[in-house]
Each structure stands twice: as structure tokens, then as C-alpha cells.
Symmetry: C2
Subunit: 114 residues, 2 copies
């Protein structure tokens, strides 16, 4: 008997993975929203997100800077302060996040009424 052909898929999935890498994980979207809402300084962002440690925040901010979602500026002056700001580019994620949000809302209904 001839083995039934199976279909190899997995083409063009890298972009989806890329996006999930950028916004996935436990904290990235929370941090992004915090910065969107106007929190600018390291400790300010940290305080705005309960349970987020400075270690993790530090790492996530670096990732997000690399991905052009935020900018980091050190203001010289005393005391030295660091300012994190969302980029224009980061706004392009709004649509994606909205989509995730809406699907999630609907899914909750689906799961609980069913």
C-alpha cells in the first residue's frame, strides 16, 4: 500500500513568529501600553506594572528599543534621568493588538457560554 501523501505546510510563517517574538511574552504589551500612557522613566514604568521586576523590565526595554518600539534618551543634568518614549512606528502595533483584544473578548464568551 502506498503511503498517503502528507502536505508539507509551514511556508511563510516566519513573519508571524517575528511578530509574536516582538509582542509575545508576559510583559511586552503591558510595557508598551504603560509608555503609550505617558510613563517615561524607568522607575515610573516599573511602578505602573505590578509584579514587574527591574531585571525583567530592563531586559524588555532593551528588546523593545532594538525593535524600534521605544526610544531611550539619557538627559544630561543632575540628577541624570532617562527617558523612554514610544516611537511613531510603535503605533503600527495598535491594529494588531486591537485584533488580538477583540478575538480574545469573543473567545471568552465562546468558552464560557458553551
Amino acid at each position: 500500500m502506498i503511503r498517503k501523501e502528507h502536505k508539507e505546510c509551514m511556508s511563510a510563517l516566519l513573519p508571524v513568529r517575528d511578530t509574536l517574538d516582538v509582542i509575545g511574552g508576559k510583559w511586552k504589551i503591558l510595557i508598551l501600553i504603560s509608555v503609550w500612557e505617558g510613563n517615561k522613566h524607568f522607575r515610573e514604568i516599573a511602578r505602573s506594572i505590578p509584579k514587574l521586576s527591574t531585571k525583567v523590565l530592563s531586559k524588555e526595554l532593551k528588546d523593545m528599543e532594538m525593535n524600534h518600539l521605544i526610544t531611550r534618551t539619557v538627559l544630561n543634568g543632575f540628577p541624570v534621568r532617562t527617558e523612554y518614549k514610544p516611537t511613531e512606528y510603535s503605533k503600527s502595533l495598535e491594529k494588531v493588538i486591537l485584533e488580538l483584544h477583540q478575538w480574545g473578548l469573543n473567545h471568552r464568551k465562546k468558552i464560557f457560554t458553551d
Copy 2:
């Protein structure tokens, strides 16, 4: 000096988290696409996704069944075969995935041309 107010955000983010739980991780979208493409049986799905172990596949399929993305039917007959099929509901993820895909494509351009 009065501490500057920081803004508490983090409202209404659970739905986003829910969605990321359902489609996040390394394998779920790949498995979904495999099933969408017509792969129906356990080994068939496993073979269609290189590097995916049967242990992980087994667990992911259970999760996905719980989230109503696929159905699992055991066909009685010899040999016993199991059939996994995508649900109509699973189609509602297409838009979300498309959005993730497009943002990811654009992001690659951004990162490499910049």
C-alpha cells in the same frame, strides 16, 4: 516634594493575554495550519511539522480541542484511527493571523533596511 503621579494602566488586557495563550507558543499556529491544509491523523500532522515531538503535539492538540479550534474523533474500525479536524470557529483566527503576518513582514523590512 510630591511624588509625581504615575498612571496605572493594565486595564482590559486579559483578552489580549487570552488570545496569546491560545495561539502563542512555538507550535499552535503551525499545527492549526497543518490541520487547515487537510492533515487529519496524529502521525500525519506530526510528520508535516519538522522537529515537533509527539509529546508536544499530543499536549497542543488537547489544548486546541479545549479551545474549540479542532475536533477529535476516534473512528472505530481496525486499525483504530483518530481524526482531527479544524472547526468553523477556528476560521475566526484567520484575520488575527493575517494581521500578525502582515505586521511581521513589514517589521522585517523595517529592521533590515534601517
